[in-house]
């Protein structure tokens, strides 16, 4: 099996399975009897945990005749509070997706050299993986294997690989998403912002959104809080090249020139310091480096900032002074996806510093830092394999391995196998050709997924997982302002005719094949039950209630409370000692980024509330209202370029990369003349994704210029520019 993998071809799996897609209404000649049930009544309601995105709201699955027909928000779950975002309701579109992977697949090469997938039994597939990794381990190459994961279900594989001795672990959620923010806040406050973000938005009186389009970025509780704040009269400042939904709620919309956020943030820091508007008491007691900061932002005058950002001096001053005026009741939102321009850590640092100067730390409306979990115990002892070696990132302050670094090292031959759980790296990392080149250099690629995402087409072994509505996962016991523990349990048994398995069973099969300690994966129900017994509950009880919540803990700091921060100095570091020690600027400095080449517009991207990027774009239920993305382009710019509203065009970026599908133009007043906007996650190129195939255009495909943050490897994806072809 190793010989055929050197020249990896992209394979298509024949399909035609579960062809149950609904028939759009053709009214029959005489009409049906009106027995189309108006509102079905559930036989049973199963509380479980959503997986349409990674927020993990509690959902109630309404089941009738063995079919989930409705998903609603759990009333008592602190993340849903009875409500759901559009995607949460759309879980049925995933469960009944006719394109789901149905059986394990193994890549085989015929005598004539053509490659194909053959359907395999679980025994064959597991044996193949087990054997391959045993061989690599025997050859001392366990450190040439990388486990990629995204999502809640990966916990069982974490345990499996720790026990087996595969220690390289990468998440695209790090360098492609929140990593820079978490590192920057860590450098400043000693802890990350976390997910769900530790922010008291609901009680803010002045909220600056810079690089966040909350409301379109539809994390349920965050949007609940945001709407509550808006309704209570919180002043919103939206810094965005696009007139986002959040901007429409804002007191001021600052249509900033893309890539210049850091200049604006520094200007505000300067105003707070120069005009003595910062929280003197808080800063004196808890921060160090004020004078270094003062000196470091001296050049960030409003006038100089206007020249860089295009934001008027008046707006810069007004917002800076308002920040000072609202003080601890103001919040500068740290954003979520921050891998943008290559200076992402410093950009997030500036946000962290602003919040520190406002003194909003653990204050109503500010940053909150809840550390308490619900605290479910684990009455099992899972031993890790002793010794072993794992890859150390070349980025000095990276606490995880950036996914793109793994790509680079794989191309150099330093990694030989990837084991990918639930993340479609081909549509995720930017620079698709680079990712594919790395994949082709691999000896062995294993992919676990629910759908035939692009990456499965490159795999040696594809393992189909059941959806979150058909499986148990581990308990959700995370830090949140109201500590809770929640259960994910099957609402229905795995669909008939699908030879797919839950993640915990797949992990267990591998553990058995490797003859690991059988105690590593006790029967899942017994395991969950025993864990729940440590908090006086049981699986039986939890399967009925779904969630247990602790009373609101005191999340705000008391007057005069002594604070201690987990930084090298034990203080909030306005100038970072760790950055300085590693040779970087202790205080964020602005560096300019490439400008639009003539005739090109900067490509920015974001979310639509109906989708979680590429994960849901094959979801027919969600796709009904948003089946393809549109390219937002300023109306005047488009008219100058001779483009017509609603026409379909190809995109070509500044490096000559042409999109593989066309995208519809949306001519709008809602965007700066020098930028275009796409919802990320469309334009799938795998025809097995029958719904999503070539619908809209892939932003990821257009992102070939990756600007990497030298501090921790955050992979900037917003330095690409596009033009059009008909």
């Amino acid at each position: 099996m190793t010989a055929n993998t050197s020249r990896r071809e992209f394979l298509q799996i024949s399909s035609g399975f579960l062809a149950t897609s609904a028939i759009v209404g053709q009214v029959p000649f005489l009409g049906y009897a009106p027995n189309a049930e108006a509102a079905p009544v559930a036989d049973k309601i199963v509380p479980t945990t959503c997986e349409l995105c990674f927020w993990r709201c509690g959902v109630d699955a309404h089941v009738k005749d063995g079919k989930v027909f409705k998903l609603t928000g759990q009333m008592d779950h602190p993340l849903s509070n009875g409500h759901l975002c559009p995607r949460g309701t759309g879980g049925i579109g995933l469960l009944y997706d006719p394109d789901r992977l149905r059986t394990p697949l193994i890549r085989k090469t015929d005598a004539d050299g053509t490659q194909k997938f053959v359907e395999a039994s679980w025994e064959e597939a597991i044996a193949l993986i087990a054997k391959k990794y045993e061989e690599m381990t025997a050859a001392n190459e366990a450190d040439k294997i990388v486990f990629f994961s995204h999502g809640f279900g990966s916990s069982f594989f974490n345990r499996l690989f720790a026990a087996y001795g595969i220690l390289n672990h990468a998440h695209p959620s790090y360098a492609q998403c929140r990593g820079a923010r978490e590192e920057a806040f860590g450098m400043t406050f000693g802890h990350a912002v976390g997910s769900p973000e530790g922010l008291d938005i609901a009680n803010s009186e002045y909220l600056v959104l810079i690089g966040s389009h909350l409301g379109e970025n539809m994390h349920n509780t965050a949007v609940q809080d945001f709407s509550e704040a808006v309704s209570r009269g919180c002043k919103i400042i939206a810094v965005d090249p696009r007139f986002s939904v959040a901007a429409s709620k804002a007191e001021r919309w600052l249509p900033i020139k893309a890539s210049t956020d850091l200049a604006l943030l520094r200007a505000w820091i300067r105003i707070l310091i120069e005009e003595e508007l910062y929280d003197h008491e808080f800063v004196k007691a808890n921060c160090i480096g004020l004078e270094e900061l003062r000196a470091g932002v001296r050049d960030a005058t409003p006038e100089a900032t206007f020249a860089i950002t295009g934001i008027s001096v008046e707006d810069i001053l007004a917002v800076g002074r308002d920040l000072g005026r609202y003080g601890s009741k103001a919040l500068v939102h740290p954003g979520r996806h921050v891998s943008w321009y290559g200076d992402d850590t410093q950009r997030s640092r500036a946000i962290a510093i602003l919040n520190a100067l406002l003194g909003n730390y653990r204050m109503p409306g500010g940053l909150i830092h809840q550390t308490k979990k619900f605290g479910v115990g684990t009455p099992y002892k899972f031993t890790k394999k002793e010794g072993g070696h794992h890859y150390k990132s070349r980025f000095p302050l990276a606490s995880q391995t950036p996914a793109n670094e793994v790509v680079d090292e794989t191309k150099k031959g330093n990694f030989k196998s990837w084991f990918v759980y639930g993340t479609n790296l081909v549509q995720t990392l930017g620079h698709v050709d680079d990712t594919i080149e790395a994949i082709k250099a691999l000896d062995f690629l294993v992919v676990i997924d629910v759908l035939p995402m692009e990456i499965t087409g490159y795999a040696d072994v594809v393992l189909p997982e059941v959806t979150y509505l058909e499986r148990y996962d581990d308990l959700d016991d995370r830090v949140y302002r109201r500590p809770y523990v929640a259960l994910r349990q099957p609402a229905v048994p795995p669909l008939k005719g699908l030879n797919a398995k839950p993640g915990h069973e797949i992990a267990k099969l591998l553990a058995q094949a490797w003859k690991l300690d059988p105690g590593l994966f006790p029967p899942i129900e017994e395991y969950l039950d025993n864990r729940l017994k440590t908090v006086g509950s049981s699986l039986k009880q939890m399967s009925q209630v779904g969630v247990m919540v602790k009373e609101d803990p005191d999340i705000y700091r008391k007057p005069g409370e002594q604070l201690r921060f987990n930084t090298p100095t034990g203080k909030i570091e306005l100038s970072s000692t760790r950055l300085k020690a590693a040779g970087f600027d202790g205080v964020p400095q602005y560096t300019s980024h490439p400008e639009n080449p003539p005739g090109y517009l900067r490509l920015i991207y974001g979310r639509a509330p109906n989708h979680t990027f590429g994960r849901t774009s094959n979801n027919r239920f969600l796709g009904e209202l948003l089946s393809e993305n549109e390219l937002w382009i300023n109306r005047i710019t488009a008219l100058d370029l001779g483009l017509v509203d609603q026409e379909y065009v190809f995109l070509i970026n500044q490096e000559g990369k042409k999109s593989s599908s066309k995208v519809r133009l949306k001519l709008t007043e809602r965007i700066r003349p020098d930028a275009v906007y796409l919802v990320h996650g469309f334009g799938h190129t795998d025809p097995r994704l029958k719904w999503a195939f070539h619908r809209g255009v892939s932003a990821n495909e257009m992102i070939t210029q990756l600007t990497v943050d030298p501090i921790m490897g955050s992979t900037g994806m917003k330095n690409n520019f596009v033009t059009f072809a008909r």
């Binding site: 928000g73 409301g215 007139f243």
Partner: protein, 182 residues
């Protein structure tokens, strides 16, 4: 029988982010067939860059007090339910489409089953004693509120207090019952 109810919906456009959770929730609650919807979201942008306003409005049947769909229905399939809602009796409907032509809000459609269909304010939930519709329940922003205007629970008053209220196409004279807070 208790007193007569008069259900209406108060929709706070300030809170709304236009996410369409209401549309999806309605579709699965009410078994609305693929390609159809009982509620929908309209986004209206006005102005020129960079001086813009944007309003998101979740819309549906207005359950008019003087409903032209009811007066134009030749078979009494469309009727007032006595709780302030307008309902359709599928057993009476011939699919003649007069109600669709009559509705100034274009809230109706012909169900593939052959009958006129539209938002019912989730009357099956109301009848089961619930105080929410699928859309008001799911809404993560608290935009949508089902209220009983004949109630003395103070809910409607609290929502309306100090707010500017807008109604759509009042010139059509149908006395609509969706109230938008702007």
């Amino acid at each position: 029988m208790s007193r007569e109810r008069k259900y209406a919906m108060i929709i706070d456009t300030q809170r709304c982010v236009g996410c369409s959770a209401c549309v999806y929730a309605c579709k699965s609650e009410n078994n609305v067939p693929e390609g159809f919807c009982r509620d929908w979201v309209v986004s209206i942008t006005e102005g020129r860059y960079p001086n813009l306003t944007l309003t998101n409005r979740s819309e549906r049947c207005q359950h008019c007090e003087d409903a032209p769909c009811v007066s134009n229905c030749p078979t009494a399939a469309s009727h007032y339910a006595g709780d302030g809602t307008v309902q359709i009796d599928r057993d009476l409907c011939t699919g003649c489409k007069a109600c669709i032509a009559a509705c100034p809000y274009d809230a109706r459609y012909i169900h593939p089953g052959g009958f006129a269909d539209k938002c019912s304010f989730c009357n099956h939930r109301i009848q089961a004693g619930m105080t929410s519709t699928a859309c008001t329940q799911v809404c993560p922003t608290g935009t949508l509120n089902l209220v009983d205007l004949n109630s003395n629970d103070g809910k409607a008053e609290a929502l309306l207090k100090g707010r500017q209220v807008k109604q759509d196409k009042t010139h059509a004279g149908t006395k609509p019952k969706l109230f938008w807070l702007v």
